[in-house]
C-alpha cells in the first residue's frame, strides 16, 4: 500500500513536472534520434522490429492521464480514433501495446526486456534505461 502511495505521489509529481520521456532498454540502440513519427509508428505497431529485435511497446493503463497525454501529443489521435484503429488491426492479427499499471513497472519492464519501449515521467527515469524521445507537452 505504501508502494502504491509512493507511486501515486510520483505520478502526481510527474504531472506537475509536465514532461514525459520515452525510454528503451539499453540494448535497444537506434541509429537515429527517434522522431515523433517513429515513436508513433512503434506504438501503432507499424514498426515492430528494430533490426532483428522485436519491439515491445508499453502503455500505461487506459485511464492514466499520462497515457491520455501521450496519445494526444505523440499519436495525435483521439480515443475514438484509436479504438477504431485497434479494432481494425485486431482482424489483421495485431494487438495494441501491452499496458502496465505504473511507471515503475514500465521502467522495470523496459529494464528487463530488450525490445521494450515505454513512456514515463521524466522524473522517474534512472540510468538503467535510455531516453529515446522527450515528449513536448502541449500546454
Amino acid at each position: 500500500m505504501i508502494r502504491i502511495l509512493l507511486i501515486s505521489a510520483l505520478f502526481f509529481l510527474s504531472l506537475d513536472a509536465g514532461e514525459l520521456v520515452v525510454i528503451a532498454n539499453k540494448a535497444n540502440i537506434f541509429k537515429d534520434r527517434l522522431s515523433n513519427q517513429n515513436i508513433s509508428r512503434i506504438y501503432l505497431k507499424k514498426k515492430r522490429y528494430n533490426g532483428s529485435l522485436k519491439l515491445v511497446a508499453l502503455n500505461l493503463s487506459a485511464s492514466d492521464p499520462l497515457r491520455k497525454e501521450f496519445e494526444h501529443s505523440v499519436l495525435s489521435m483521439s480515443d475514438l480514433q484509436l479504438a477504431a484503429y485497434w479494432a481494425k488491426q485486431h482482424y489483421q492479427g495485431q494487438r495494441p501495446p501491452l499496458s502496465m499499471m505504473s511507471a515503475a513497472s514500465v521502467l522495470a519492464f523496459v529494464r528487463e526486456v530488450e525490445g521494450a519501449i515505454g513512456y514515463i515521467p521524466k522524473a522517474s527515469v534512472d540510468d538503467s534505461v535510455n531516453i529515446i524521445y522527450e515528449v513536448k507537452t502541449t500546454p
Partner: protein
Amino acid sequence: MIYPTGWLTSLRSRFNSSLKVKLLIALFAIGFVPYLFILLYTLNLGEAKIIQSITQTQYAQVDKIKRDVEQQMTRLENEVLFLSQLDLMDDMIVGDIDKRISRLLTQKKRDMNLDLELYCIDPVNRVIASSSLENLQQPFTDAQRVKEAESQHHTYYFDNETINLFSPIHASFEDQRFLGYLLLTYRLDDLNRFNLHQNSVRSILVNASDTSNALQQQQMAVLKLDGDNGDYTTDEEMVLYKAVDGVLQGWYAVYMIKKSSALAFLDDFIIFLGVMSVIGLLFIALFSNWISNQIVKPVVALTTIAEKIVITEDYSNEVAATSADEIGQLSRAFNTLVRQTDNALGALEEENRLRLQRFVQLIGIFNRIIKTQSEEECIEITLSELEKLISERSFSFTRRAAPPEMMAIAIFTRDYDTGERHYYGAITLGGETSNDEYELQFYASIGTMIMLQLDQIGLVKRTREVSKAKSVFISHMSHELRTPLHAIITSSQYLITYGTLAEEQLPVVANVENSAQHLLSMINDIIDVARLEAGKVPVAIVPLRLENIEAMLLEVTTMLEPLAEEKEIILTYRRESSDDLMIESDLMIESDLKLLKQILINLLSNAIKFTTEGTIILRLDADDQTLKLHICDTGIGIEADDITQVFNDFTQVREGNQQGSGLGLSISRKLARLLGGDVTLSSEGAGKGAEATVTLRRV
C-alpha cells in the same frame, strides 16, 4: 416289498375311492402346472429385467459422477491453460509489482469457489504471484516434481492430498521467452462434492494406482475393481465402478448401493408375484373344486338315488338326466333299469297277491267243504266252488266209473266197521287234459279233501247214531227203572204211614224211602238230560213282561225258602233300584216260563246245597240287550280252573260230602241255551262264594 406308510395308504385309498379327488387333482395339476411355469418364467424374466434396469440406472449414476469429476478436472486444466496464456502474465517479467496477477488469481479463486490455490512461479522457483498473499516471494519446493512431470509430458503431479496442475508461461510478445509456471493446487478431498452420501447409496473415488495412501489402500482391499467398468454384488451391497479418464487416470468412481434399497423394487415384485401365485393357486383350487363338483354332481346324485332306493325300496325315484354326455346316458340307463326293476317287482307282487288270493280261495273252499253236513251237499259245494274257481273247466259228478278219456278225481270212502275203502264216485273235469303237475296235485288235494270230509261226515253220522242209541237206551232204562222205584217209594211210604212197624224198623224203612227218592231224582235228571239231548223237551216260547218274571221269581223263592231255612240260610230276592234306566217297566223277553222256573230252581237248589251259612241273593238286572238273573251265595265257591268242568254231565268238583247227580248245572245250561240264553258261573275262589248268572235276550 416296501409298504407305503399309513398316510400314503390312506391318501391312495382316498384317491382310488373318490372320483372327485381324482378329477380335482387332475384339474388342479392341469391348471396349476402351466400357471406355475408362467409364474416362474415371469419371476425369472422380471428379476433379470429389474436387475438389468437397476444396473443401467446405477451405471448412469456412476457415469454421471465420473463425468462430473472429469469435467471438473478438465475445467481446472483449461483454467490453468487459459490463465497461463493471458497477456497479463507478462507482468511476471517485472515480478508482478503491480500485483495484477495476484489480484487476478485471487479473483479467479473466488470465482471458482473451490478448495484450490493458484501460484505463479518464476524460473528461479520463487512464488511471484499467488491467490493467497502469504505465499508471495516464498521459494517453490516442488520444482523438481514439475520438471519430472513435464519430462513425462504430464501437466500435473500428485502431492499427498492434492493434485497440482501446471502450465508454463511464455511472454505474450515472444513465445520463446519462458516466464515461469502457473500452478494450480487442488485438494482432492474437494472431489467428494460429486460423491453421494445417502443412507442407502454412497460413492467414493479411489486411486487404484496409488498405494502410498493408507486410506486408499484400505478401500482398495475391499473393492474388486477390474477393467474400465463393472459391477458386482456383495452380501450387503451392489457395487458399480467406472474408471475415470483424463487427469485422474487410474482412479475409479465407485458406486455402492445397499442391496435392500437397490433391490427393493425387486422384492416388491417378488412379493407381488408371491401374492399373485397364492391368489392364483387359490383360484385354481376353487375353480377345479367347482369343476370337479360340477362333473361329479350328477354321479353323486345317481349314487344318492341308488342308495335311497336301496334303503326305501321305493323304485319310483328317478335321476334327473339333463345332460347329453356319458353321465346323462348313464342316468337314463339307470332310470330305465329302475323302471324295469319296479315293473318286475310290481308283476311279482301282483303274482304273489294272486297266489295269496288263490290260497285264500282254496282255504275258503276247504272251509266250506268242512262245513258241509251231508255227502250230497259236500259234492255239490265242491262242484260249485271248483266252477267258480276254475271257470275254464266244467265239473260234474258221477257215481259210476269216470270215462277213461276224461280227467277225473276219484273219490273213495272208508267203512269204519270193516276198515275197507269203497269207491264212492268221481268228479269229472271237462276241457282239455292237462299235464301240469301242479294242477294235477291241486285236483288230487281237492279229492283228498273231499274224501276226508266224506269220511268225517260218515264218522259224525255214525257217532250221532251211536250217541242217539245210547240216549234212547238211557231214557228207556230210566223209564224202566222209575216204575219199580215208584213201587218201592209208595210201598215204603205206606209202611211208614200205615204200617205196623216196630220202632226200630222205622228208620230202616225211612232210609229205604230216602234212597229211593234220591235215586228217583237222579233218574229224573238223567231223563231230563236224555230228553234234552234228544230234543224232546217241549218249548213254549211266549212273550213275558217284567211282572211275569218277578212273579215267577217270588214263587221260586217262596218255594225254596223252607229248604234254606232248614240250613238257617237267608234267601232274598232283590231287584236293582227302579230308577235304574236299564230296567224299564216295558222290559220284555220271549221265553218259556216253565223252563225258566226249572233253571232257577236248579240253580237255587245248588246254591242252598253248597252253602252252609250266610245268604243267598237272587238279583235281577238288565242292560239294553239282555236281562240277567244273578244267584249269589256265600258257599264253598269254586276254583277258576274248575268252572268249565262243572257244566259237564255228571261232574261235581268235590265229591262225597254233597249229594246230587252232578247234572244240575249241566241241565240248567242246556235249558237256558234251548231258550236262547246261557248260564255262567263265576267265583273268586274256593270258600269265597259263587255267583251263577242266567242271561236272557231281550226282545
